[in-house]
Symmetry: C2
Subunit: 613 residues, 2 copies
Amino acid sequence: MGTVDYTFPQGADEPHRRHHTVEAPEPQPFLKSLQYSVKETLFPDDPFRQFKNQNASRKVVLGLQYFFPICEWAPRYNLKLFKSDLIAGITIASLAIPQGISYAKLANLPPILGLYSSFVPPLVYAVLGSSRDLAVGTTAVGSLLMGAMLSKEVNAEKDPKLYLHLAFTATFFAGVLEASLGIFRLGFIVDFLSHATIVGFMGGAATVVSLQQLKGIFGLKHFTEATDIISVMRSVFSQTHQWRWESGVLGCGFLFFLLSTRYFSTKKPNFFWVAAMTPLTSVILGSLLVYFTHAERHGVQVIGNLKKGLNPLSLSDMVFTSPYMSTAVKTGIITGIIALAEGIAVGRSFAMFKNYNIDGNKEMLAFGMMNIVGSLTSCYLTTGPFSRSAVNFNAGCKTVVSNIVMAIAVMFTLLFLTPLFHYTPLVVLSSIIISAMLGLIDYQAAIHLWNVDKFDFLVCMSAYFGVVFGSVEIGLVVAVAISIARLLLFMSRPRTAIKGNIPNSMIYRNTEQYPYSRTVPGLLILEIDAPIYFANAGYLRERITRWINEEEERVKTSGENSLQYVILDMSAVGNIDTSGISMMEEIKKIIDRRALKLVLANPKGSRKETDQI
Amino acid sequence: MGTVDYTFPQGADEPHRRHHTVEAPEPQPFLKSLQYSVKETLFPDDPFRQFKNQNASRKVVLGLQYFFPICEWAPRYNLKLFKSDLIAGITIASLAIPQGISYAKLANLPPILGLYSSFVPPLVYAVLGSSRDLAVGTTAVGSLLMGAMLSKEVNAEKDPKLYLHLAFTATFFAGVLEASLGIFRLGFIVDFLSHATIVGFMGGAATVVSLQQLKGIFGLKHFTEATDIISVMRSVFSQTHQWRWESGVLGCGFLFFLLSTRYFSTKKPNFFWVAAMTPLTSVILGSLLVYFTHAERHGVQVIGNLKKGLNPLSLSDMVFTSPYMSTAVKTGIITGIIALAEGIAVGRSFAMFKNYNIDGNKEMLAFGMMNIVGSLTSCYLTTGPFSRSAVNFNAGCKTVVSNIVMAIAVMFTLLFLTPLFHYTPLVVLSSIIISAMLGLIDYQAAIHLWNVDKFDFLVCMSAYFGVVFGSVEIGLVVAVAISIARLLLFMSRPRTAIKGNIPNSMIYRNTEQYPYSRTVPGLLILEIDAPIYFANAGYLRERITRWINEEEERVKTSGENSLQYVILDMSAVGNIDTSGISMMEEIKKIIDRRALKLVLANPKGSRKETDQI
């Protein structure tokens, strides 16, 4: 169909003044264009650029530095940097110990696992990770999600051993997933969790986690396994006769203490360490209080015995038999993706602050290895939690050595200090969790979404309410489904606009945006603002036909020169599939039948595609 | 963040010569922009435009014509038109009778249902439908799909009554779905079945249907219910001792007869009626042959008794009880969508030929009503099959009256002629089906896809092999999933390009496409070719950073003026979501940190969005 003059590049910009022809692009061999697409899809940041034009030995050094970032900074490490890292490391350790214990309880796992998980994974990350500010540890949302998903299959109280082994197996699969996404450079899958989804999801999870802490605050012994607000509230208020006032008073007191120090630290950023130290201080104060008043005999539950010693190996604990394995795989995939999303976002935000670059795919590999090694050494799902990394950043960390310091501090605790936690009241842990969670409910972000983009607000709210009234998975699935449906809907309804001439220029612009631009008599210039695919081809056919109808009617009533040319400005049409090509053929027929002429301005894409039209 | 000068509209086209400012767009009230979006999404063709500026009585007339297209053409109908319609109607009736009987067998339904389904639905369509060329009837693919899906739940031989009732119920739900899609103007959902998907799916279904006809050709009594090629071939070749040569000879003879007349008619389009009449001729010849040779006693199976009389009512036969209802709903939804896709495409193609317009959503309503009424009068799923409509078109039909003529001819057959079909051999029906199916395997379209778009070819092939080796549903689901994954992948990797100045002009264009364009020293002009969403925000950040890195390196080695401005040409960015806005903020930070200046040229979208950057 060689009737359409596509060597008409300046089309919309100066239809009848000058003529700049453009060569039809060379036909691209299929393999070459495939190679190009694969590169753009998987290596948009061109990570191996630095290897170009280097000799072999330099390539080996660069390769080592690429795969083990520690090789890059270790030779330049010095005492001054270490001093900063030491302070930061001790600060995050003081947060990591109580948080680790609390979050392990959230996942229905033995508290000691929280400490184990703050020992091995940070060391792995120190070797492989490229963020300088990320502090490794478990997260409340990851713990909650793992607890909720595994509890559906196995009761943690009735069969604690199987439950524990399932947790290791799920962590292993989460690690395998993360590492493979990194190796195959499929990190962009995480992009499909949009900002709005994450805000809603995190807020919902924080709400649910906080409500569950009412168990600890009121000192309840029996509690629902479900995470939705209705089950939790029913569980709390059906047992009012079991509420223990001692526990409640202690919980509210510590919560007030935690929240007020945090408020103080937000107001005076120099005193960030006050808020960072408060959880450990609360644990010490709470333990002393229980020890001296023997409150454990008056309804204040305590942690009890913690085993002394470092992480035992857990390689032989993996469960690879059905029916449990499928639960472990499913839990691993979902928790792994969520953990990745948080870790990558945190690493990127701080890298942005300090102006260095991190490669998301390399980070995924580091997270993956950290969880694989962790799962073999009695750790459960870890990532780079926002709260702990922010403390690390504020405490002035310079490199991942702060993670090593934290790991050593935790090791010291595991070896010598675990007996001290015997009297730590659970209610203090609940207060620590609630105070951490309240920071995750980012209502300002939700208000911002409402102001900027109502649809993103809808996505955010459906994630929130899905989590709060349904379950963590339901919220996630609903939010992702709505986000993708939105993409498809937008894709199926691209914008089209009439372009007009801007007086005294050769420039043609959207007439709605530039109201003083004037349409040229006899010409209808339409711009199409999106690639043409099967999903929008039908719409574009209808819409373009309607533009032409409306223009012909307008011309008829106003008595102008009748329409002669329809110019489609294809500048923004980056791609067109076979349905799109059929659509263009139909448009051509429609226009021919009305004795008009069709001109394509600025077509792109490979020659094959353009030739068909 | 008012630091970015977005009143810089001519940006990429003439950065330092002239200055055309553009007013920041008025803030749009949320409801107004919502209303606009809803209109663009659901009413892109503005179907009610004709009602504007009309008085009340005219509006009533237009409304009647809108909802009952028969009101539009009936007053203008005349004898000349009727003569054409009469010939076309008789021609399609002669095709409809044998095809109807054959396809009903394909769906494991009593043959008489095929005749019933060519009587009531065409009459309903004649009142509500707006295509002048579409001939209503059952289709092979729809029948096969219904048969395969219902057979999973109920065995048609063991419980024929329940099976029949389920078929009515599924047809009812298909009708309800089609009508609701039409009423809520959600017709664009059908667009997600791309051209490539349909080519592959139809080809696969045709292959499967043809292979199943080996049962009839070889006169086998027992046959697999599965539709995949492996089960079917196993079924055929495990029973070689049951093959009947009489049946085989008859089948091959008629198949040759059918194919050769079709070949003749394709070569000489004036003799289209030869091919159209052959199926009925074959049925008559076959029946006479059996009647006189008593071949039914020598292994040639015949239709047997067909009940005389018009469609009995089937309202009380609907099955609304579990567990069958969910099967009926599922079958109804899938077969309904497939039937719609075929019917709409057929109606649109012929409307395109004759230069009239049909409204897809109105057609859906017509199809829906046709199936709802059909399901209450012992009909099963009908649509506008391509083969029958093509015959109708070739026979010179002028209006839907040809459907009425066909319905009357079928009525006449039902009332008086059914006994004549007693001796019709099944093998003739199999030959008719095979010869119709071979036309649906559009290998030329597949070759075209391979040449034009490898990815569409992949989609097509996965639909084909999914249907042939899996099942009809698997093929469909796989093809749609791949198509959507492709959309998402393309969306997540939009094209970006450097723009350069075309010598002696003020025009800036993609430097790859216009190799003689020159970049301006100190400026890096990047164009972004897609809306910015969460799915591509991460990629764009990486890619833009890489463009800047590469440009800075290039400048350094070539010793040009150092980079000062980065201009992002946003002409093609029709939309931006909150993730996109965060991305733009990050880009701004990255660029600021390198002491460069960011300029957004030609930003669009509502003011709210632009203001945030």
